[in-house]
Amino acid sequence: MQDSLKSSSYQQLEKKSKYTNMFLRWFLYFILILFASYFIFPLYVMVVTSLKTMEEIRQGTLLSWPSGLNLESWAVAWGGRGYGAGDTFLRPYFWNSIKMVVPAVFFSTFIGAMTGYVLTKWRFKGDQWVFLFLLFGCFIPFQAILLPMARTLGVLGISNSVIGLVLVHTVYGIPFTTLFFRNYYISVPTELVKAARIDGAGFFKIFFKILLPISAPIIVVTVIWQFTQIWNDFLFGSTFSFGEAAPIQVALNNMVLSSTSVKEYNVDMASAIIAGIPTLIVYVLAGKYFIRGLTSGAVKG
């Protein structure tokens, strides 16, 4: 008797918890989707606005669907209207950014790999302090180096040039690239290196034969990180360049702020998407590595 009572109340309890569970589950998805729409909202607005005509923008609302695939504002944002002075468009600045990003990513990644290799596999007294010395560079507010950097670029004769920006981005990327490679190489067994050294392999041979072949993941993480940082930079770009040498983010900001004619929001949005699309593509294709870069060193299991 007692037993059956117990089991039935238990069943009831289980039934009840099944309903609460289902309710909680719905609630969970509701909240998650609510936030997803908050995050997607600006992107959606950007895309639909860029496809509307100015007339449609004035008539409709933020969310309203464009009447058709109107790509004219994209063409204007990328290639201009074809009249001379005062016609600003993104194409030349997009190439400036490419010319700046490629060498800067290459040099900073290479230097970081070498430094990370030395700091983990050729350890010496005080290497911890050298690491800390470099690591601090990740955190300084760049305002504290803007003034001397502007003067240095002037002295070197490379202010307002893509080369100047390559130098700046290479230097201030080194702390991050070193951190990435150092944290990666520290988990590679040192025995491998020791054995190779006994076999007579030298410094560079060990790097190219043993470490480089297993470095693909960290190279991807570093390259994506540096690419995103440098492509998206505005502070250095706007301080050390203007006019024709400006990278795309600076050009975008100038375009949006220019108050010469009637505000064309569709062109503004198309421009913003063009400036954001390279990093967005990299993120969608290699999100895993992007996130690993973001959280690297932050959460050490």
């Binding site: 969970l28 998650l32 936030f35 997803a36 995050f39 997607i40 600006p42 992107l43 607005v45 923008i57 004035r58 609302t61 933020l62 230097i111 070498m114 430094t115 030395v118 800390l132 010395f133 470099l134 955190f139 300084i140 507010p141 760049f142 305002q143 504290a144 803007l146 003034l147 001397p148 230097v171 201030y172 080194i174 702390p175 070193t178 030298g202 410094f203 995103t228 998206n232 930079d233 505005f234 502070l235 983010q249 975008l252 900001n253 949006v256 929001y265 503004d268 949005m269 421009s271 998407i273 400036a275 967005l280 993120y283 999100g287 996130i291 973001l294 959280t295 932050a298 959460v299 050490k300």
Partner: protein
């Protein structure tokens, strides 16, 4: 000679990094520090002038507004990013369908520049054609949302855009933290009759102390350096109501040509960051040495 080269090769390879950082980071910070003690205007002067620039800085109304804004922004930015980040991380941790897709959506703003997202938010928040108009067309005729052009409220639009950009990052940090906890701990607690809420509130979140700490450091760091977003969204306006220290520094240096004063403001920012970062690096290094 060859022997010496071979023995010192590692240090020679490392020299460029150390040299570049030594010169371009430490050397430059010291230069800025020195200039902040001089009476430099357009061009740097090298005679010492004492603390004059710092006195001028802290007597400037614009700087005080900038510091005030920084405090408001940092506090709200921290609270909202951490709360939203934790909620999303915990919810995503419940064996959710399409988790990968949702995670991608929450984190994509981090891949975009503040100039790009600032441009989008400026358009959304503008009262004539943005959200305000949308609600009015939907029938809420008295709906008003003009924070972007309101001196008192404009700073909060920067919070909205900033949280939108960075909350996903906190989510990623916490999700990685939660996933690194051994399943056994959760299972054991559940067998002991703990509800899911208790498991998170009493066991898992307290275990996330290092993640809280990391998020705190990174978010404060982002907010002290925030510059691009303000330039894109408000340019410090209306008036000077949304000025922040980073914007103050560049405006003072490059528009007003007050090099000494801007160096002083840069050093204040440097000290604020150092106060947060040095304890962090110290504890990280100690944790690593302890292992």
């Amino acid at each position: 000679m060859f022997k010496w080269l071979e023995k010192n090769l590692p240090k020679i390879v490392m020299a460029p990094a150390v040299g570049l950082i030594g010169w371009f980071v430490y050397g430059f910070v010291l230069w800025t520090l020195y200039i902040s003690f001089t009476n430099s205007k357009i061009l740097p002067k090298y005679e010492l002038w004492g603390f004059g620039q710092y006195e001028k800085l802290w007597a400037s109304r614009k700087w005080l507004i900038a510091v005030d804004n920084l405090l408001i922004f940092t506090a709200l930015f921290l609270i909202f990013c951490v709360v939203i980040g934790i909620i999303l991380a915990i919810f995503l941790d419940q064996k959710i369908r399409a988790e990968g897709l949702l995670r991608t959506i929450y984190l994509y703003p981090m891949a975009l520049s503040f100039i790009v997202t600032g441009t989008a938010w400026k358009w959304i928040l503008n009262p004539t054609l943005g959200i305000q108009k949308m609600f009015r067309e939907w029938g809420f005729e008295n709906f008003t949302f003009d924070w972007l052009v309101d001196r008192e409220m404009a700073i909060y639009t920067i919070v909205i855009a900033g949280v939108w950009q960075s909350a996903g990052f906190v989510m990623a940090l916490f999700l990685a933290g939660l996933r690194s906890v051994e399943d056994e701990i959760v299972k054991a607690a559940k067998i002991d009759g703990a509800s899911l809420f208790t498991v998170y509130w009493k066991i898992l979140l307290p275990m996330m102390r290092p993640v809280f700490f990391t998020s705190f450091v990174i978010l404060v760091h982002i907010s002290i350096k925030s510059y691009d977003l303000i330039v894109a969204l408000t340019q410090g306006g209306p008036g000077i109501s949304t000025t922040m220290p980073a914007l103050y520094m560049t405006q003072t240096a490059f528009h007003k040509s007050q090099v000494g004063l801007s160096a002083a403001s840069a050093m204040m920012m440097f000290m604020a960051v150092a106060a947060v970062i040095i304890p962090y690096l110290y504890s990280e290094l100690r944790r690593e040495n302890a292992r």
